[in-house]
Each structure stands twice: as C-alpha cells, then as structure tokens.
C-alpha cells in the first residue's frame, strides 16, 4: 500500500510540477523580466509554465514588482482566490523585502507580510534565467511534497 501510494504520489507530483501555470501578475520592472522569461529566449513554456489571466486556473503567483499598500490587499485577495495547491514566488528585491523602496511611506516591505512565500528570488530585476531557476527549485520543492500519504493518514 505504501509502495502504491508513494509511486502514485510521485506520478501526480510529476504531473503537477511539469505544468505549473502561473498567474499573469506584473506590477513593476520585474514584470518586464517576467514577460521576457515567457518570451523566446528563456522560454518558460518548456517547463510547462504558461501564463493564465485568472487566479482560478493558476497554481503559482509570481509577485513581480513592488507592492504598495494600495495593491497589497488586492494581492492577498488574488492569492485567496487561487485554488490549492498554490505557491508563491517573491520575485525581485521589492517583493522580498521592499527592496529599493525601504524608505518609502507607501510600499509594503516584503510580500511575505501578506502571503506565505515559497521561493524568494533576489535581483533587481532578476534575470529571466534566474526566474527559470526559481521555477526549477519550485519543481524540486513540489516533487518532495508528501501530500497523498498525509491525506490517507
């Protein structure tokens, strides 16, 4: 039984990690690098990652760009509207910790104040290859998840 569960879980995780659909959410400069990462040279599509416009169909929220207080509640709402299992990559310094705008009155100092972050990706902006690396690390994280066994137990 354990053997069956582990292998099914491996198979399902393989399916999930090979088709991470990310929400098209681009706030600032990192959004342009996100676009370029989806573009011809660093093609995120080869990892199975395609952009979706609605959080209902998305597995991954890449917070690309500075989040201000005005935007923060909307980001949280978007995150809540995604269906589990859902992941967040905080892309760029501004999403990690407020970045360049630490001294600003209207910038949220890090998106992990509002959503739980799985991968922190430093850079200003991070290169598209770095974003591809973040997606690969997320794939590693996904393949190590033991959710099916927990479901049974």
């Amino acid at each position: 039984m354990e053997y069956l569960l582990t292998n099914t879980e491996w198979f399902l995780n393989w399916g999930r990690k090979s088709s991470i659909w990310y929400l098209l959410f681009a706030s600032a400069c990192c959004g342009i690098e996100l676009m370029q990462a989806g573009g011809p040279r660093t093609d995120l599509d080869r990892f199975g990652a395609v952009p979706r416009a609605t959080p209902r169909q998305a597995d991954l929220l890449i917070v690309a760009g500075t989040i201000t207080y005005k935007m923060a509640e909307r980001v949280r709402l978007l995150y809540e509207q995604m269906a589990e299992p859902r992941y967040v990559i905080a892309m760029g310094s501004c999403a990690n910790c407020g970045g360049l705008f630490q001294g600003s009155y209207s910038v949220l100092k890090g998106v992990d104040k509002i959503v739980p972050v799985d991968i922190y990706l430093p850079g200003c902006p991070p290169r598209p290859e770095a974003l591809a690396d973040a997606i690969l690390k997320l794939q590693q994280k996904m393949s190590a998840e033991k959710w099916l066994r927990n479901l049974r137990a």
Binding site: L77, E80, G110
Partner: protein
C-alpha cells in the same frame, strides 16, 4: 520671446499683480493665489503669449508657505514661462485652472493628494495616488509616515542587524480583507465592472471602472496609485548621485531617458557641462532604449488586439538590445548608466561594430513587422478611427510624445528644444496624418511609433559614425553639494516629455524633485475617449496611448 518680454507683457496686463519673482534663476512670475485663473487664461489665450500647454504643476512645501509652480509651454511659439503662487501653509487654497487647461484636473488632484492644497472650483477633488482612507499629506516637510496601514506594518526586521529577532513574514499582518471595499457603490441600471489591477491588457497595475451597458461603455473611470512608491518624497532623503537608480524605475522601459533627464537637471544647477563623447554616448543609449521601448509598446498593442505572434518576434529583437545594453551598462533593464556629468562606462571594444551589425539585421525586420501586422486588415479595422484625439484636445489634456505627434502636433523636444547632442543629427519627426483613418486615431499612434524606430536607427548610425574621442564624464567629487536654485529639465522619453523639476537648497540631497511624465496625462484622457466605446476598443485605446504604470504613479 524671452522671459523679460513675457513678464513685461504680463505686467502691462495685470500690473504689479504679476511681477517677476524676487528669488533668482530660473525666472518666474509670481502671481497672487486668487488671481491665478485670470492670469492663466490670459497666458493661454493671448496670441502673443500663446502658452497652450501646462507642462507641470508642482507643489512645494517651503516651510513658511506652500508654493505652487506652474510650468507653461507654447507648442506654436516654442517659449516657456513659469508662474508661481504662494499659499498660506495653514489653509492652502487657490482657484483651479481646470477650465483653462483640462490637464490641470489630474495635476491638481495629485497636488491635493500629496500636499493638501484645496483647489477651489475643482470638479472632482479627491485622492488620486494614495488610498482613499490615507491620513496626511506625504510631501509636506513635517509628515510622519504611519507605522502601519490596515494591519501591515511599515518596518521590516533586518536579520543582519538583529540576528536574534524572530523571523519576519509570518503572514500574520493582514488578518482579513474586511477593509478591502468596492471602489464605488452600486448604481441602478448600469453594470459596473472592474478592469482591475490584475489584468493582462492593462499595462501594469492600473484599474478602470467600466460603467457599461453590455459591451458598450458609458464611461471608463481610471483609478491609479497602485504603484505609487513615493519616489518624489524619497528624493528628499537620498543624495544626488545616489538617486540615479531610482530614476531607472520611474519608467523601466525608458530608463536611459529618465537617467538623462535627472542628470540634466542636476547638471544645470551645478553648472557642469558634459564632454562631447559623453553626450554622444547618452544619445546612443537613449535611442537604443527608444527602440526597445517602442518594441514593447507596439508589440503589446498587437497582443492586446489579439495577435500574439508579433509580440514574441519583438521580444526576440528586444533580447538583442538587452544584450547590447548589458555589455554597455551591466544591466538588462534598469541600467543606471548615466552619471551626473556624463556616463558611467565607455563603449567596450568592438561594440560599435556590434551595434551596426545588429542594425543591419534589425532594419529589415521592421519591414517584416509591417508585412506581418501593420497592413493586416483586421488590425487596421480594430484601430483606425478609434478614439480620435484632435490636436487641440491632445495639447489641452497634456499628451506628449508619440501620442501628441500622432494628433499632428509637430512637437518633439529633440527638434524644437534640442538638448544633449541632438542638434548634430539629421532625422525626421513622424507625424500622424490619418494613415488609414483619421489623424489622431489609434492606428496613427501605432504607425508613429513604428516610424520612430526607423528614425532612431538613423540617429544611431550617425552617432556611431561621428562619435568624438575624449572623456565620457566630467570629474565631480563623490559627494556633491548642489548650489541653491531650481530648474526644470526636459527630455524626450519614448513616452513623451519627461520633466524633472528640481529644487536645491545647498544640501547634499534635493529639497524637492517633481517628475512630470507622459503617461500620467495620457491616462487622464481615457475617460473622455471612452464614451460610447466598446470594451474591446478600450483595450486598443490603452495600448495605443502606451501607458506604463510607474510613470503614472511614480
């Protein structure tokens, strides 16, 4: 007309009420607050002054008073004028000039939002950049930023300084979303839909409240401020050389132009000149950036219409430019290439040949793009005759750059107010002429950008051919104290005039920096253009105006 002639003309009309400002350069005419509307109207309507555009409306907290500075420009005559009005700091009030220049509507809302100035007679004075329930006016000198907003704290534990503090980011700060309310209450009989901050077609985090009847809209009300990062306030606490990376983020697609505008403003106050090679390198960088920016603008316009392929082709071309920029400046997107007094790095070995070879490859591709999309009948039908902006409206609403030129107003800062080394180059200014529809429609704005890419290639070739030898930057000390004064420097960014109004009081940090961007005013015209238009056309309009969120919100 020179400043003396302009101020003389104002004095003959208004007497001592419009006197040249007692403080030094730049020259400004001081007007008492209540008289501003008549003076403004005279400035616009008088055939000699003909100051038909309000470039910038800046509010400055001078500690004992609040000063409003109006930068006026005449597109037909080419001269400019600065009006200043001093307001009582305890109760700052001034009549609105919205009836004179329609663009003042949004500028005054911003001034109200950030400084608390009450504009008497304004049709819709409410906050524009900050959330509606924000308390306080950030640009005032005595402003204290709140420690938290809706439960989200404004500080972050620095693990290097406080290694024993508990780790931040427990997602405990935003407990629930009960404070997130709808932007409007329901209105009977109409459907109100948010084309909200997260949308593939709004270029960045912008929100449009669509009041629609099915597919046809009654109006689309823009809401901005989702990316307001307080750049202007931060400039007051960051040193002059240290602010350069921030200017990159003002418009990340046109980072070189923003760099140049800021550097020019500081150089004007310092009285420091840039060596010829530095100027040529600046032109080179700006024109390459212009091509890259127009690639994104036209490509995303095509994508919004529904054609995904040209966008990917354009992204491929943009990657080549990114490679060139990376070799030149070290970064792909936010370059931080220019310094006060010149540029940071010289052209590497073999770079000039590389750029020339890339242009040999790129110029035929513009033709390929034309064959791919520009003459596609569906594309033309979607864009021609949609959202026609007349020349008068374009000037009144403060449109600049390709948007203005597409409405057949022949104004390009590189030609009409040459700065840097642009006077040395031969290039044409493409104007909208109703290529497939009416002058000033979405198709014209698209074609003007494609043609500008060709012109940029011409400038690049000339710049590479005539590049002088020598220093790339004037030697300046690492810590700069800029002598007191104020200036307004303009550059022709890909999205239009980017103006930097810089006030210095002799310290190492600016006293006030106001940035005037093209996208801010381009957003303000969308509501007017959206009456009776279909939602799909609104997408075309936003794409054709080439709005980027950081320019709108700063």
């Amino acid at each position: 007309m020179t400043f003396n002639e302009l101020s003389e003309r104002l004095r003959t009309k208004f007497g001592d009420a419009a006197a040249p400002s007692a403080e030094g350069a730049p020259q400004a005419v001081t007007v008492p607050g209540p008289a501003i509307e008549q003076v403004a109207r005279f400035c616009k309507e008088d055939p000699e002054l003909d100051l038909n555009a309000l470039s910038c409306l800046a509010g400055v907290d001078r500690k004992d008073r609040i000063e409003l500075v109006y930068h006026l420009l005449s597109y037909r005559k080419g001269h400019e004028l600065v009006l200043k009005a001093a307001l009582d700091r305890a109760k700052p009030e001034i009549p609105t000039v919205e009836s004179v220049w329609k663009t003042a509507n949004w500028h005054e809302r911003e001034c109200f939002d950030l400084l608390g100035v009450n504009f008497l007679g304004h049709s819709d004075l409410r906050r524009i950049l900050l959330p509606d329930d924000w308390v306080g006016y950030p640009l005032r000198k005595d402003y204290v930023a709140p420690t938290e907003y809706h439960g989200m704290s404004s500080t972050r534990v620095n693990p290097l300084q406080q290694p024993d503090a508990p780790a931040d980011g427990k997602r405990s700060e935003l407990k629930d979303l009960s404070q997130l309310k709808s932007l409007y209450g329901p209105v009977a009989g109409e459907m109100i839909v948010n084309m909200g901050p997260q949308h593939p077609s709004t270029h960045g985090v912008l929100n449009f409240l669509l009041v629609t009847d099915g597919e046809v809209m009654h109006k689309a009300v823009p809401h901005i401020g989702y990316l307001h990062r307080g750049m202007e306030k931060m400039a007051e606490s960051i040193s002059y050389p240290g602010y350069m990376p921030f200017t990159d983020r003002l418009d990340y697609l046109a980072a070189m132009s923003a760099n140049q505008g800021y550097a020019m403003a500081v150089e004007k106050l310092l009285g420091c000149a840039v060596p010829p090679r530095g100027e040529y390198l600046r032109v080179l960088a700006c024109e390459l950036n212009r091509i890259a920016s127009h690639l994104v603008a036209t490509g995303s316009m095509a994508m919004d219409i529904g054609a995904f392929t040209p966008f990917l082709h354009w992204l491929r071309e943009r990657e080549y430019i990114n490679d060139i920029m990376e070799e030149l400046s070290g970064s792909r997107l936010t370059y931080n290439y220019m310094r006060i007094g010149g540029v940071a790095h010289d052209l590497p070995e073999g770079m000039a040949d590389k750029i020339l070879r890339w242009m040999d490859h790129f110029e035929p591709i513009i033709g390929e793009f034309d064959r791919l999309i520009s003459n596609n009948e569906i594309f033309v039908q979607r864009l021609a005759n949609v959202a026609v902006v007349s020349a008068e409206d374009a000037v009144d609403f403060g449109l600049v750059g390709p948007n203005l030129r597409a409405s057949a107003v022949p104004w390009d800062l590189r030609r009409n107010m040459p700065y840097s080394a642009y006077a040395d180059f031969q290039f044409d200014i493409p104007l909208g002429q109703g290529f497939r529809g009416t002058a000033g429609d979405c198709y014209d704005r698209f074609v003007v950008r494609v043609l500008e890419m060709r012109e940029s290639c011409r400038i690049l070739r000339q710049a590479l051919a005539k590049m002088p030898a020598g220093d790339i930057r004037t030697k300046l000390p690492k810590r700069i104290k800029v002598p007191p004064g104020e200036t307004y420097a303009r550059v022709e960014a890909p999205r239009g005039e980017m103006g930097f109004y810089l006030i210095s009081d002799g310290q190492e940090t600016p006293y006030r920096l106001k940035v005037r961007t093209g996208s801010f005013t381009a957003m303000s015209i969308i509501e007017k253009l959206s009456h009776g238009v279909m939602i799909a056309d609104l997408v075309a309009i936003i794409g054709s105006l080439d709005v980027v969120a950081p320019e709108v919100d700063r």
